[in-house]
Amino acid sequence: MTSLTIPGPLAAAPGSGWRKAKDRIATTVIYGSFLLALVPLVWLLWTVLSRGLHAITSDGWFTGSQRGITYRDGGGGALHAIVGTVEQVALCTVISVPIALLVAIYLVEYGRGPLARATTFMVDILTGIPSIVAALFIYAVFVTSFSGQRAGWLVSLALVMLMIPVVVRTTEEMLRLVPNELREASYALGVPKWKTIVKIVLPTAMSGIMTGIVLGVARVAGETAPLLVLVGYSPNDNSNLFSGPQGSLPGMIKDQFGNLGSTTILRGGHKVSVHYAADRMWGAALTLILLVMALNLLARLIASRSKVSS
């Protein structure tokens, strides 16, 4: 790819007006494409913030559930949803992180030959697997084949499949950045390989690994497809991952989405139109975005304290 051909115009007309004009057009288009990408980002964040702020600053948003509240009633909180999301993601993290770390250690420190190639390929494939397919797989195994009931922990299992590749990728990159001299210095002192990995390599790459974990958590916290297939939505408090329908932030958005639009109710003898469901939907959306953005900032923060750097 290193051969260069001198194009006609470049050789013929140095500094001609048309070439300069083309250059200027290209510059404008390239700057423009960046500004264009900002439009949906700013628009979306502004929409969620302005429409959701009312709900999440209302009384009881972080302390109450949606128990007994229909789209014709105002109020209620998102605690049930926050609890569900946090529990499902926490279980997913506890399962994913050890597996992902081991896979990354394998790929960087041990892996060669057909198994390593196959593993790398499978991490790539897992990165691209649609979340609905992961959910269907868990459903086919645990509900259809072992006739289990839909519950929160099945969601965690589906999320594991989506989180592992994110953590493996980041950890792998970080382990590769640990200078080989550190390993060799350790070996030279007679330290066995496993101890070198556990006491030298992993601690050196630790902040990068933490970044990967936090990014993985942020990635799965907003996943909705597994919720639809693997657990029912419940407006009540249910902190039991292993039985019954459970609320979650994406589930709550989906639930309230079903009753968008204004509702006319009688208040003091007058008909007034209200948007309780819409308020709560944007409130849940804002809560979810705040959670995910906070996790992303945390990841940045950890990454900036990294000992190894790209």
Binding site: W194, E223, L288
Partner: protein
């Protein structure tokens, strides 16, 4: 551990445009990281020298037994985890096939070409052709919109913006990837759709004779709206990979172009774009893989049409994709026969995304051999 590895400092200096992502370890010179992955792939580096020092390690100090044992435990555990991942993908395939096969064999029509979807009764009669069509069409709309913009942003970050600006810009684009897809969905249908309806109306009024723009009187929840939202969602993926490959363009090629008296745009056209083309192709395909499988945003946006069997070529029609079909009916998975039909649809989606992703990786890896 307060080790400060001094040698990463030099490696960093030699690596001019600082990247904000760890996924770009590939261009450091003169050490084993030179084997590190290209373009976000996790291909393991071939590291020949890693094993050698271990020979003596366990034999010193008379700790032969426990050290060797612990070594074997960690090696076993980690390769076991690798094997587990391989097994997992195998299990996904096996279970989807096992659960889908009875439904496919009980199907009255041809599973791949039929245009009906009736799975409730005793004689299921369904096919995935309309789903495939809408899935592909909506992803293509997204690609057509996203790829040029992503190339522009990647060029902006890697070739135009000063390093001080490039980093925050890259971070802002990455934020697009951090927003959960359900929020894209509600925003897309409730906020964006009414605003871009005039564009759709104008197109179908003036170019409605083209089948692609034919008006089907679907307001808001069209393939067009879904494609626009998908484009925003896959933009950060394609941008990140484009950025990576453009930053890797050899300095020599760029400076040769400058030395020929090229303008900035000509430098890009002569040196940067040709070098980055294979990477761009694979980035676009990874974006496509994501678009094909996107579930909840599309489920919320697309209007179901009553007569899904009637084929339409228009992007101003509604419809259902594989993923939205499954998601729309997830609450009614009752009998295994009925569920099997949806699992069969999921299997086709899995095969589709698998093929697209594998092809994308293949393009990257083939490129790496020449680099």
């Amino acid at each position: 551990m307060d080790r400060t590895p001094s040698d990463t400092g030099t490696a960093r200096l030699a690596d001019p445009p600082e990247r904000s992502r760890p996924a770009a370890a590939g261009s450091q010179p003169a050490d084993r990281h030179a084997h590190a992955p290209v373009i976000g792939s996790s291909q393991p580096a071939a590291i020949p020298s890693d094993d050698e020092p271990v020979f003596g390690a366990g034999t010193l100090g008379g700790r032969v037994g426990p050290a060797r044992f612990a070594d074997r435990v960690l090696a076993g555990l980690s390769s076991g985890a690798g094997a587990f991942l391989v097994l997992l993908i195998g299990l996904v395939t096996v279970f989807l096939v096992i659960r889908a096969l009875p439904a496919i064999t009980a199907d009255k029509s041809n599973f791949l070409t039929a245009r009906t979807w009736d799975v409730g009764g005793d004689t299921p009669d369904f096919g995935v052709l309309p789903l495939l069509w809408v899935t592909v069409l909506i992803s293509l709309v997204a690609m057509v919109l996203a790829v040029p913009v992503a190339i522009g942003i990647a060029l902006f970050i890697s070739q135009y913006a000063p390093a001080r600006v490039a980093r925050p810009v890259a971070y802002v684009i990455d934020l697009l990837a951090a927003i959960p897809s359900i929020i894209y969905g509600v925003w897309g249908i409730a906020v964006l759709a009414p605003k871009i309806q005039p564009v759709a109306d104008w197109l179908s009024r003036h170019a409605g004779w083209i089948p692609l723009f034919k008006d089907y009187n679907v307001k808001g929840g069209t393939i067009f709206t879904g494609g626009v939202v998908l484009a925003v969602m896959i933009l950060p993926i394609i941008t990140a990979i484009g950025r990576d490959v453009f930053e890797r363009t050899p300095r020599a090629n760029i400076e040769a172009a400058w030395a020929l008296g090229a303008t900035h745009w000509e430098v890009i056209r002569l040196a940067v774009l040709p070098y980055g083309r294979p990477g761009l192709v694979s980035g676009a395909m990874l974006g496509l893989g994501r678009a094909l499988g996107e579930t909840i945003a599309i489920t919320l946006i697309l209007s179901k049409v009553s007569n899904a069997g009637a084929f339409s070529f228009s992007i101003f029609n509604g419809g259902e994709t594989f993923a939205s079909k499954i998601a729309n009916n997830a609450a009614e998975f009752n009998s295994p026969a009925q569920t099997g039909a949806y699992i069969a649809a999921g299997l086709v989606l899995f095969v589709l995304t698998f093929a697209v992703n594998a092809a994308a990786r293949w393009v990257v890896n083939r490129r790496k051999e020449f680099a």
